[in-house]
């Protein structure tokens, strides 16, 4: 269920998600927040089992804090995505899988990045990505609307448009859109 998307822009990165939590054919909640900040420069959008996803986000936060305290500088986006995928992969291989699909997005010294991590522990990165049951619909909108060098404002509009399109036809998504933008200079605050 769920529709989440991440879009890289010229001056940052955008995450968006719907607000529905499904319990089978029932709308369990109409006001769920699926976007989380790992720090000021890195964020994740969650889809799948809420409990697994929230636990994973908290675990990733704790591990990231420890790593940056020990080595003196924070994890970049690729490192964060790989950290999460390693946790998920270990879960799958020990027959305790995390039922999640995440979009990890953020900015670092190299600029904005979007990754998706699935429950097998695979990570992939593209300029814009979607996950959750509404992702095929959202991809349709983004394939039409995305262009290289999009600014953050245009990226936010495209993100909301894509999630709203998915909400129209995907019964697992609905009840409003959350949008979160991280500007490129956020990296300077954490580094």
């Amino acid at each position: 269920m769920t529709t989440t998307i991440g879009i890289t822009c010229s001056d940052g990165v955008v995450l968006a998600a719907d607000k529905r939590a499904s319990k089978g054919f029932f709308v369990g909640s109409k006001a769920v927040n699926k976007l989380f900040m790992l720090d000021e420069a890195t964020a994740v959008a969650i889809a799948g089992q809420m409990s697994d996803a929230e636990y994973l986000v908290n675990l990733a936060k704790a591990e990231r804090r420890l790593i940056s305290l020990r080595r003196g500088y924070p994890l970049n986006v690729h490192e964060s995505a790989r950290l999460i995928s390693n946790i998920v992969y270990n879960g799958m291989k020990s027959y305790n899988p995390f039922y999640v699909e995440l979009v990890v997005a953020g900015v670092d010294a190299e600029g904005p990045h979007v990754y998706t991590a699935d429950m097998s522990g695979a990570i992939t990165s593209e300029p814009f990505m979607a996950s959750g049951s509404g992702s095929p619909l959202a991809y349709g909108v983004m394939e039409q609307g995305f262009r290289q060098g999009l600014n953050l404002d245009a990226g936010k509009r495209l993100a909301e448009q894509a999630v709203r399109a998915a909400m129209e036809r995907d019964p697992g998504s609905g009840n409003g859109v959350d949008v979160l933008a991280v500007a490129n200079d956020a990296w300077r605050e954490v580094a």
Binding site: N58, A62, R65, L66, L69, R70, Y73, N76, E110
Partner: protein, 232 residues
């Protein structure tokens, strides 16, 4: 045999005087360490440590540590032991966040460290040759605690450990006032350390105030910069 060399006793048993020799030795190791100070008022806490040795071509070792956003630590004794104790409480602070969703209170952190250290006084292992001073803020206010190799924890407004700690504590006791301002407290700590080691010595400070609730290095304010470019 080793038994005879220890007067027929295992080294972690009590001596006839009722002392734990290994723990006494660990305390002596702390007293050989660099002078390290913790000071607090109701508004802030300062940790200061004399950094040695310094010379050209050598980067001074980190002596004041961020444990979690709201807690800092410094220590005296064997640096390797200090580092591994700091790591133990850093992990404990994150474990607490995972379980309870809130930052750990400084007392619980000190109690965990005390229990961890105490375990090493019971068996045939070397107790840690390091004492730590923790400073932080929690719902009970500004906190300052010292933890010794035996696992003993002390609460108070001022602590000094390491070489010349008695003299440093004397300077602190004379100069301490409850309405001390932050800059005066840093100056007092500096004076206490310099009175033993002479002026111009490298001293690292860490500060937490009730307004910001964040423990930061005073000298450079932030952790070392990352390398300019990294490849994955």
């Amino acid at each position: 045999m080793a038994m005879e060399a220890q007067g027929g006793r295992m080294p972690f048993f009590y001596s006839p005087e009722g002392r734990l020799l290994q723990v006494d030795y660990a305390l002596q190791a702390v007293n050989r360490g660099s002078t390290t100070i913790g000071l607090k008022t109701k508004d802030f806490a300062v940790l200061s440590s004399h950094v040695k040795p310094t010379r050209n071509l050598l980067e001074p070792a980190e002596k004041v540590f961020v444990v979690d956003e709201h807690v800092g630590a410094t220590g005296s004794g064997y640096i390797g032991d200090v580092n591994s104790l700091v790591d133990e409480i850093r992990v404990q602070a994150q474990r607490h966040r995972l379980v309870y969703d809130i930052p750990i209170d400084v007392g619980s952190l000190a109690r965990h460290l005390g229990q961890y250290l105490h375990n090493f006084t019971l068996y045939t292992v070397r107790p840690f040759g390091a004492s730590l001073i923790l400073a932080g803020i929690d719902p009970l206010g500004v906190q300052l605690l010292q933890i010794d190799p035996s696992g003993t924890t002390f609460r108070g407004n001022g602590f000094a450990i390491g070489a010349g700690s008695d003299e440093a504590l004397e300077v602190l006791t004379k100069g301490y006032r409850e309405d001390l301002r932050l800059q005066d407290a840093i100056a007092l700590n500096t004076k206490a350390i310099e009175s033993l080691n002479g002026g111009g010595t490298a001293i690292e400070h860490g500060v937490i105030t009730r307004d910001t609730k964040k423990f930061v290095h005073q000298n450079n304010g932030k952790a070392p910069k990352p390398p300019a470019s990294r490849t994955n």
